[in-house]
Subunit: 189 residues, 2 copies
DNA sequence: AAACAGGTAGACCGTTCTGTCTATTCTTGG
DNA sequence: CCAAGAATAGACAGAACGGTCTACCTGTTT
């Protein structure tokens, strides 16, 4: 009993786009792997670009939920959670199917800022950044905006480096740097 | 008196790839803008992938030279140069034609680690990282590897964020975070 | 002058891709 | 049981792309 054709398409498209890229995956491949007919796709989505936009939003929702709840499970104190972000990042980076941040890929394949894919990538990044600022605030940072922004830079930097080397070294180094920043903000002993 | 058809092709291809992406730019467009015939391209390069690889290597050489010499012109002391890296980054990010790091774009459009484009992107990143470690060493860091790696994370993170928001805020925030790291390493008062 | 190397223009081929259309089959509510 | 909506398979059109090929031109060297 399949949930719905629309959901099948979103899940399959999100998986294939993350694995191979957006331009590299054709409509026909998505249809074949989802087991859905072409006309059904074009009943639910106006175009491939529209499917890309919705698949990215779907990926964002799934990622935000999975990532932040995994972080919350790793630590009890606010400052500990800020470090746990990078532990979870390291775990993510050494998973077999890690190929980099799909939202950065979307932005790199759609360089025009007006493109929907670029917008969704911005939204994703803003959500990460806001969450880190919120966590910095809960940890009692004197300037949560600045600390959160710095941690967001380390976060995105680790993502970029891990995409290239495919190890968890960047995330571990980011954790060390984050610890230094937390100590400088007197949130860590 | 044009330098050489080969060089025309490399420069035009590098410019178009950086501006619009690799898959988005067709052979015909490069030929038209470079004013070169198709057969000439295929005399100098085996395929489009080969052209991409060589154009990336050309871009890398040009960027490394321009960036590090601009950094050297900004500061006299080793520690000052480490901060000047992020000032130069900020200047780069607000230039009109900044669309993100073309080497990350290459890695994002060629997700297979075996791809030549991925290799060149890795080489570029390693060169940046090595340069930062070398500068951290010259500045007298106790652990230049760790400091250089942390600064490289901030560098790549600022690149990623600037690609999304197209401002120099990420580079400025990265500079602040870098200053904190330098103070923690007792290289800055 | 003649031979030669390198470049040009543009037609051409096979493939791939998005998106449309038709005719048929499946499912489900009343 | 049957009618209506939804989904299916697959052909098809139109365009773009990478890459090959032929015929022609131009400048240099011997």
């Amino acid at each position: 009993m399949p949930a719905s054709r629309r959901q099948d398409l979103l899940e399959t498209a999100a998986r294939l786009f993350a694995e191979h890229g957006f331009q590299a995956v054709g409509i026909d491949r998505i249809l074949k792997e989802a087991g859905v007919a072409k006309m059904t796709l074009y009943k639910h989505f106006a175009s491939k670009d529209d499917l890309i936009r919705e698949a990215l939003q779907f990926s964002d929702q799934a990622w935000q939920h999975a990532f932040w709840s995994a972080v919350a499970d790793r630590a009890d104190t606010p400052a500990g959670r800020l470090l746990a972000v990078f532990d979870e990042l390291a775990a993510w980076h050494i998973s077999d199917d890690y190929r980099g941040c799909v939202f950065m890929h979307a932005a790199s394949e759609h360089l025009e800022t007006a493109s929907p894919a670029h917008s969704v990538a911005c939204d994703h990044h803003q959500a990460v950044r806001s969450k880190l600022i919120e966590m910095a605030d809960e940890a009692g940072a004197a300037d949560p905006e600045a600390l959160g922004a710095s941690l967001a830079l380390l976060f995105e930097g680790a993502n970029a480096c891990a995409q290239l080397c495919r190890t968890d070294n960047p995330a571990k180094q980011a954790r060390d740097a984050a610890a230094t920043l937390l100590r400088a903000a007197e949130l860590l002993v």
